[in-house]
Subunit: 348 residues, 2 copies
Amino acid sequence: MSANQKLGKASVKLEKPVYIIGSASIVGTKEGQGPLGELFDMVGEDDMFGCNTWEEAESSLQKDAVYMALEKAGMRPEDISFIFAGDLLGQSIATSFGISSYEIPLLGVYGACSTCGESMTLGAMSIAGGFADKVLCVTSSHFASAEKEFRFPLEYGNQRPLSASWTVTGSGAFVLSSEADCKGRAEGGARARIAGMTIGKIVDYGLKDSMNMGACMAPSAASTLEQHFTDWNSKPEDYDKIITGDLGSVGQTVLIDLLREKGYDIASRHMDCGIEIFDAKTQDTHAGGSGCGCSAVTLSAYILKQIEEGNWKKVLFMPTGALLSKTSFNEGQSVPGISHALVLERME
Amino acid sequence: MSANQKLGKASVKLEKPVYIIGSASIVGTKEGQGPLGELFDMVGEDDMFGCNTWEEAESSLQKDAVYMALEKAGMRPEDISFIFAGDLLGQSIATSFGISSYEIPLLGVYGACSTCGESMTLGAMSIAGGFADKVLCVTSSHFASAEKEFRFPLEYGNQRPLSASWTVTGSGAFVLSSEADCKGRAEGGARARIAGMTIGKIVDYGLKDSMNMGACMAPSAASTLEQHFTDWNSKPEDYDKIITGDLGSVGQTVLIDLLREKGYDIASRHMDCGIEIFDAKTQDTHAGGSGCGCSAVTLSAYILKQIEEGNWKKVLFMPTGALLSKTSFNEGQSVPGISHALVLERME
């Protein structure tokens, strides 16, 4: 029998770590001009990426990210057991039309902008459970397809409040493996390892402002973090960084305040991918970046690099999702949140 | 180490079966008037289920199906490690607003109408992998919310071609467990056991007719079935029934023909939940029922009953999904399909 174990109420500790042996990040022009621009594997020349529609462009991002991640890991599609994938668009069409040509058995996930965390959680479980040797996890978002899906036509030129975030155009793909060896990398080994996960529940504080998604998602981030510290009997100081997906500057303040009320101070070690990816002052992105792609490309290009270089030895990576649709918003529903956390460790 | 194993290219064989210890089905009026009407746990008096919108009605279906499944299994929400859930609506809002009050860690899935198969596949893997003792799997669809999401306003009164299917209003929920014992059932044991799964890939024959989804999905059903027979070294005769989700009468013909070309004759043992759930002649449902709820409620109310009563000892249950959105359809994209299969066996 497996020695994997459920830890506390919502966590999983892997008997044997799962390794991230390759990853890739592809972004749009605005992301390429941001603070992390130099680190991404590919920056598009324009945000259509040679396609006819924004949705096709987003699909091509997933396709290319998977291709590059496979190449960097020295793998072919037939080496991969399953692909865990999803995106923000209705019925996940960026995924459906992006990755079908690889012909890899697909388990589609939906966790809004927490999808990167959810897909890697399920991918790691499928490997640690003995069901697969290697899996792929991929997600994407695109500024223009997301505006169309959730908000207004771009041509409308609507104003954005300062609490609004800017959906990242980008896709991040990750090859997970049961073994640390990686023939595709000169260094030989994996980029990092996954020691365990904490799976979030839906948290709904009743907030209804889809132009302030950071505040809507922060309670779920606080909930998952508190659950993580309880389940793992750990504390903020055990991590070099505690990284959220796309809370942005408003959500960050809410998260830090909520956790302080619960007795945890994460202020000195908190980082948010949405805050890192853009320079809000010069790039007019207000509260920060958001979207499934935001945490995924930041993980691939920046966070894993810091771990590889030994600057961070152990981080908690927690993409955050806002569970709304334009229908639920128009019908006056709230914007609940969900956040899934992974413990990422440096290879020794 | 776990003795779970990857079988062939796309299948998983569980070291120890996972048990379905409880399930529930809730449907709308039309389904209640159909051939399986007497078997469902609850039939709504009208399809609003006391709510203000179709989407809220669908959410309440999921909420109530989970409640009843828990009750029938003798479980409380806190006994459940994870919930695997999803639906057809954009951003899965039926799920997000349906199950949040249970506060169970959620792993959201998207597989269109294959969601029942996908959620049970992942749920069974999480138990067999040692990550959970008990999980819940739930999905839903609603005729009116689906028409709004994918087709025309109901008020428009559009005509439907004979190849079109009728989205089932219903939700099915399943409690999976590592142990066969079930304190909630007078009979004491589980309803059936899951021996393994075959995970589908996206299959796209380029068909674009969203009013003929059976034909669009049949190639994926054929692909998963052929892969299943190969991976498991099995043949159609090994199963008492081979059950698809919602191919309907047109899709059934295509599936049987496609498999015959590949050397498999399933005609005598094929059953489709979409064909069973309505009487197409008197209920004006054309090709049959469809939607995530179609296979889920049929599994809970009819298939598991046949297995329990010993009429069927081993069945292959394979929900089928059509991966389209109104955006992809309007942009002229095809309708790819995906199908996931589970091997269900009678308790001895």
